[in-house]
């Protein structure tokens, strides 16, 4: 309100020219060393555990107890990794394959069902759409723990315990996915475009295929990425329903530590080994993960 008081015409050009100069000042200055020092510390903290596991994982069982431990990785990493891979209790290759298959299928399925439902919620008018959408969003607050007992009973009735299907089927759809696609499609597709397609005589499904799907592609890719990462890292349910013969990577990792005597050089070599696939993914898709989180935040 006080802005209104500075009305004198003479003062205005001055203020304006100042405002014109300021943005360059505010935007153009590079921050000082302090900011880079802080960020450097953060970066160090986020990389150190990886380096630490390389350090221990490339030594031998006595490295951890050595007070004069070297800060340069030793030469035993591949020997330790081989021990992990050849450990009959761990089933490393089975675990890797299971992780790839289950995470991949879950990501595809979540994207497929979420795009369909998200399109309907975002762009089609139908009775009960608001109530249903609010309901879907509300279920996002329900913890996974609330469903595990009946799911376990169900799958043991079906004889699926220990089978990969038992971790894929419950994850085929996700409330978050529907929410995400709805939010995105709502602003990505102008209503005029749908109107135009309809006037041209396109059926509802045709409109979805030609207008909805191309527009949904960026958001779908990000949803696939996030679903893949979280399915890959998921532990609680796979740990309950799978067994040692047929684990996923996190379950296999947990088996590495379950011996009474823990040899950390082998455990941490296994940790690195199991993290490599996602590190590779991060190298190629890290940028997309970053922008996915940032976009979701603005909308969410």
């Amino acid at each position: 309100m006080s802005v209104l008081t500075e009305r004198p015409a003479a003062a205005e050009p001055e203020a304006r020219s100042a405002a014109r100069k300021r943005p360059r000042h505010v935007k153009g200055t590079r921050p000082g060393w302090f900011v880079y020092a802080c960020l450097g510390v953060v970066m160090l903290a986020s990389v150190f555990p990886f380096y630490w596991s390389l350090l221990i994982g490339s030594g031998d069982s006595s490295t951890i107890r050595d007070p004069n431990m070297s800060w340069i990785p030793g030469g035993n990493f591949f020997a330790n990794a081989a021990k992990v891979i050849n450990d009959p209790a761990v089933n490393f290759w089975v675990a890797l394959w299971n992780s790839i298959v289950s995470s991949g299928l879950i990501a595809l399925s979540v994207v497929f069902f979420s795009t369909l439902a998200g399109w309907a919620f975002a762009k089609l008018k139908f009775k009960g759409s608001n109530v249903l959408l609010v309901f879907v969003i509300a279920t996002m607050a329900v913890p996974m723990q609330l469903g595990v007992v009946p799911l376990y009973i169900l799958f043991s009735d079906l004889g699926w315990t220990g089978q990969l299907g038992a971790i894929i089927v419950p994850a085929l759809v996700s409330a978050f996915g529907v929410f995400w696609m709805t939010q995105y499609l709502r602003q990505a597709v102008p209503d005029e475009l749908i109107e135009a397609a309809r006037v041209d005589g396109a059926s509802s499904f045709r409109t979805f295929l030609t207008v909805g799907l191309p527009a949904a592609r960026p958001a779908a890719a990000m949803l696939a990425l996030f679903t893949f990462v979280s399915a890959w890292n998921n532990f609680f349910w796979p740990f309950i329903v799978l067994d040692r013969q047929n684990p996923t990577l996190p379950v296999a990792l947990s088996l590495l530590q379950s011996n009474y005597f823990v040899d950390y050089s082998i455990v941490l070599a296994g940790v690195l080994l199991a993290t490599v696939p996602l590190l590779i993914l991060f190298v190629f898709a890290g940028k997309q993960l970053v922008s996915g989180i940032m976009q979701g935040a603005v909308k969410g």
Partner: protein, 369 residues
């Protein structure tokens, strides 16, 4: 320009087209209205059918089982009312687990939020190599919680852990990271913080970048320093995003399982249940003691706790936002009033200028102030 150059022939063909099109619409009218009415349900039904089976049915059935003594051999239960709930709540382990869960939750969410805001403010500066820093911050997110837990339980080793070595180097006695309950909570919270701080940082960074830069320019013009700007502009604008982050981290934090499960090789929460959490106990009841009825009851108790905390969070943060609103940003009614005032004062000023009476102008200015 195109229309002006259309030849009569093409125009007539266009008219034909229009005619044909209208006829098609006329024919398809019944069909397309069915199409419009029905197809949305076709799109959402695959999701909802699956969701019903794997999402909603188990939730409801958990409630049923929680009132039963479940027999694994017969694969059915006998109804026993609230007995399971009573047994769970009267068990001292429940209260220990509840205490640990909250302790770990607070130790992981509060420092994490503060750190995330701070790092996001750094990233919001005009730094070089933005993408590099952002990716570096997010790197821990791709590591599985199980892997993070294994690395950190090694680093927090009681005897040979690197953390104790470092503490020793600055003259602090080694801390018993496993046998001391509070110390074990700090160690487990550190794992959570390691994995999630960067993620939340990016969410907050996005919110910071959505703040109009004029605010900062105006503040700079008014002579406010960087710190002052942060507290007067950045933090208040972040509130809605903070609510979102707090609520999601509440839902996730109270369910914590992976990290405490992997903190030692036995996975039972320590010899004296120093780091036994609710979900860890739920696993032990369900798949250690094979008591499904009691596990179901505990799952419902956990859900109710999460709901209660979520609600409290919402109430507190709502009030904070409203307080903030009355101080800096305006409510809709206030904005309307301000607009009315402004209009009135402008009209008054115009009238004053027309009568060329400077004294009157000053008066209105004062009035507006």
């Amino acid at each position: 320009m195109n229309t002006s150059s259309t030849t009569p022939a093409s125009r007539s063909s266009a008219a034909n087209g229009a005619e044909r099109r209208t006829r098609r619409i006329g024919f398809g009218g019944g069909l397309s209205s069915w199409d419009l009415k029905l197809s949305p349900y076709l799109y959402i039904s695959p999701f909802f059918i699956l969701f019903l089976i794997v999402g909603l049915f188990p939730i409801g059935y958990t409630a049923v089982i929680s009132f039963m003594d479940w027999d694994l051999v017969r694969n059915s239960g006998t109804f026993i009312g609230f007995d399971q709930y009573a047994t769970v709540i009267s068990d001292p382990k429940f209260w220990v687990a509840l205490r640990n869960t909250f302790s770990i939750f607070l130790l992981s969410s509060v420092p994490q939020l503060i750190a995330a805001i701070f790092i996001a403010a750094m990233l919001d500066q005009n730094i070089r190599a933005k993408t590099f820093w952002r990716m570096g911050v997010l790197l821990p997110y791709v590591m599985a919680p199980v892997a993070v837990a294994l690395i950190f339980s090694n680093m927090f080793g009681d005897q040979y852990g690197i953390i104790n070595t470092w503490l020793g180097a600055i003259g602090i006695e080694p801390i018993k990271w496993h046998s001391n309950a509070f110390a074990s909570h700090i160690a487990i919270a550190t794992m959570v913080n390691f994995r999630w701080t960067g993620y939340n940082t990016l969410i907050l960074l996005a919110a910071m970048q959505a703040i109009p830069r004029d605010y900062y320019e105006a503040a700079t013009v008014d002579g406010a320093g960087k710190v002052r700007q942060f507290f007067a502009i950045t933090l208040p604008s972040l509130r809605p995003t903070l609510i979102f982050v707090i609520i999601t981290s509440t839902i996730g934090g109270l369910q914590i399982f992976d990290e405490p499960r992997m903190y030692d090789q036995f996975g039972t929460g320590g010899a004296n249940y120093q780091w036994l959490t609710i979900t860890l106990w739920l696993y032990d009841i369900g798949w250690g003691q094979w008591n499904f009825g009691r596990a179901a009851a505990l799952a419902w108790i956990l859900f109710l706790i999460i709901l209660a905390i979520g609600l409290i969070n919402l109430l507190i943060t709502r009030r904070l936002v409203r307080d903030e609103g009355s101080r800096s940003s305006l409510t809709r009614a206030q904005m309307r009033a301000a607009r009315r005032d402004a209009k009135a004062s402008v009209d008054a000023d115009r009238a004053a200028l027309r009568t060329n009476n400077p004294a009157r102008t000053n008066e209105t200015t004062e009035a507006v102030r």
